[in-house]
Symmetry: C2
Subunit: 356 residues, 2 copies
DNA sequence: GCGAGGATTGTGAGCGGTCACAACGTGGGC
DNA sequence: GCCCACGTTGTGACCGCTCACAATCCTCGC
């Protein structure tokens, strides 16, 4: 197959007329026979402008195709209507969906949205500074360790809101933040499995945002609590990654253990990997083993067996985070940030009673 | 399950010291006992500054925590080092992966990345204007009709590069653009199925970027060409959407037709839906029907049956598109844009010989 | 020992807007 | 008929930085 990527520089040489420098308010003012300040008043909808003058200016604006220079506006007014999202990932479903919510909310509010990915190799402070240099606000997606670390380093004077895995234990978040009750959701999912007759539930973990605390995040915590409440000693967790491959590795080991009849996974990708490993090992789902995922990725209802999972309102979380940021930027316009929907357990084929 | 979303306004009242207006070059100049112009020279690495002076200025910069105001720099210099991506979607795998490539490339080059989603409801011109107002360049993801329409409306004076489904038939692209040879890839995939003994291949389409031309994009075209080359009359196509649900609908109908033994899908999500429909209809894959997807989404190798698909280098496409834009913005720095990898057919379990 | 020329530094102007204030009319109230 | 308030418009300064140019300092060669 000889199928190569292509590029085309396209177009012809420069068209005869030059780059045509954009018109400024002074150009408009000259064309309309008024002062630049009057033009400024018109484009800002200032009330005290004579109707006839306004019309003349508007006509000149149309004629010259004037658009207010956003950079100059920002410099002179100090207002920047922009948000930069700092995140370690943009493709994983949870992140992508959150980003989408943020984008929608910011677009609706007339804010420009920037995205800046942080990697472990990057200098966190440089990255944050670059984001803050735009002059607008910053939203940090702190679902993982990198994001959480970034959040901690945002200078106090930078307007900032965060999405976190869970509020830091013990202390109130240093920044306005939104989160979903992952712990409770994990507990509910685990209880559901126990109620189906499973003696225990194994957990395949996503990397936690806090390296320290029990080496686990709220999802693991909820799982553990549900087991303990049922008088079951939590078995060791597995999983080291976010993707299906990591789930597959973990699943391979779990598949060998005949005591494993129920597996909760930190996200749907992991669950898919686990499903695959169980399949390879000849263990049927849900007859032999039940599997529950987390997040409800768009395709999770279409794989076979379809995946029982916890639906998360990442979208709403993103919108809420934007609202929190906007409240800082736009102190007067106190719009209430929408409250995200609660996580819900979506029952599908991958879970069922023990010994069905 | 009472699991609600939470927000926290966090933090305490304003700390005693005021917002601490950021230091300007004049502040630094005063602290270092030089003129503001000298500070400007230092931060821009101008050669003709005495070593001792430079040190003094650097020290003042450190002491005051000075960071050059990006807005003022942009206004005064006219240089903006920023890209805004215009796209109709950020979550679907192809888009998300492209976006990721764009982000990486722009970050590596020190450009800020903005994202702006266009919807059918939006006024295209307003959206484009908003993107162009940032002063930087624009990259349009023209994989679909909305994106393609947006591309057509980008004013000539705005630096712009595009990702397209395929170059517009007949005319050279009006803008520098990158694309993959989807047509050839679809042809190869179709030929593969025919070589496995299938009498014909059915196609479940993604929405095309051009409403007009034969109502199909390059993927459909390649499929059709392969069939025609083999002397087979292309059966009617189906599919109206991008997601698994659309694939499921299309698959339900195809499943009823016993002549259907091979199905090519416009993307992996559709393929997943088709797989699901076949499963519900009791038709085995690949024994009864072969299915091939497109894009190679991360999870496609982990579903059961794992999906034969065409791997696309969206990542490389994104990087290449950025390179094309940068060449316009940074006329001197003529770095060669990386060439994306060619699409490759990835053979997995969902395809096999007829009557296996 | 002095002038040329390069290195180093400072000054003025301007990017394209905004803000604060002054300068015009006008009309109404006395 | 006069004064003041108000509606309307214009002027100056400034946001924080860059550019172009002028001014100063040094060093070298003759």
């Amino acid at each position: 197959m000889d199928v190569t990527g292509h590029t085309s520089s396209g177009g012809h040489g420069d068209p005869p007329q030059g780059p045509q420098k954009a018109a400024s308010i002074r150009d408009v003012a000259a064309a309309a026979g008024v002062s630049y300040q009057t033009v400024s008043r018109v484009i800002n909808g200032h009330p005290n402008v004579k109707e006839e003058t306004r019309k003349r200016v508007d006509a000149a604006i149309q004629a010259l195709g004037f658009r207010r220079n956003a950079t100059a506006f920002a410099l002179a007014s100090g207002v920047t209507r922009s948000v930069t999202v700092i995140t370690s990932n943009t493709v994983l479903y949870g992140y992508a969906a959150t980003l989408q919510g943020l984008e929608e909310a910011s677009r609706a509010a007339g804010y420009a949205l920037g995205v800046r990915v942080v990697t472990p190799e990057d200098d966190l402070d440089r990255t944050i500074a670059a984001a803050a240099d735009t002059g607008g606000g910053v939203v940090v997606i702190g679902f993982d360790a990198i994001g959480a670390a970034a959040l901690d380093r945002v200078p106090a004077h930078v307007p900032c809101a965060a999405l976190v895995e869970a509020p830091r234990p013990g202390r109130t978040p240093s920044r306005p933040a939104v989160w979903a009750d992952d712990r409770e959701a994990a507990r509910a999912a685990t209880e559901h499995l126990l109620s189906l007759g499973h003696k225990t539930v194994h957990y395949v973990a996503i990397p936690a945002s806090t390296g320290t605390r029990r080496l686990a995040g709220p999802r693991a915590e909820g799982w553990r609590q549900a087991l303990e409440a049922a008088g079951v000693a939590p078995p060791p967790t597995s999983g080291k990654g976010w993707d299906a491959q990591a789930g597959y590795e973990a699943g391979k080991k779990l598949a060998r253990n005949k005591d494993v009849t129920a597996i909760l996974c930190g996200n749907d990708d992991l669950a898919l990997g686990v499903l695959r490993a169980l399949h390879h090992a000849g263990r049927r789902v849900p007859e032999d083993v039940s599997v529950i995922g987390f997040d409800d990725a768009p395709h999770s209802g279409f794989v076979t067996p379809s995946l029982t999972t916890v639906r998360m309102d990442f979208h709403g979380l993103g919108r809420a985070a934007f609202g929190l940021l906007r409240a800082q930027l736009d102190t007067d316009q106190q719009e209430i940030a929408p409250v995200p929907a609660e996580p819900t357990l979506v029952l599908r084929e991958s879970s069922g009673p023990r010994d069905a």
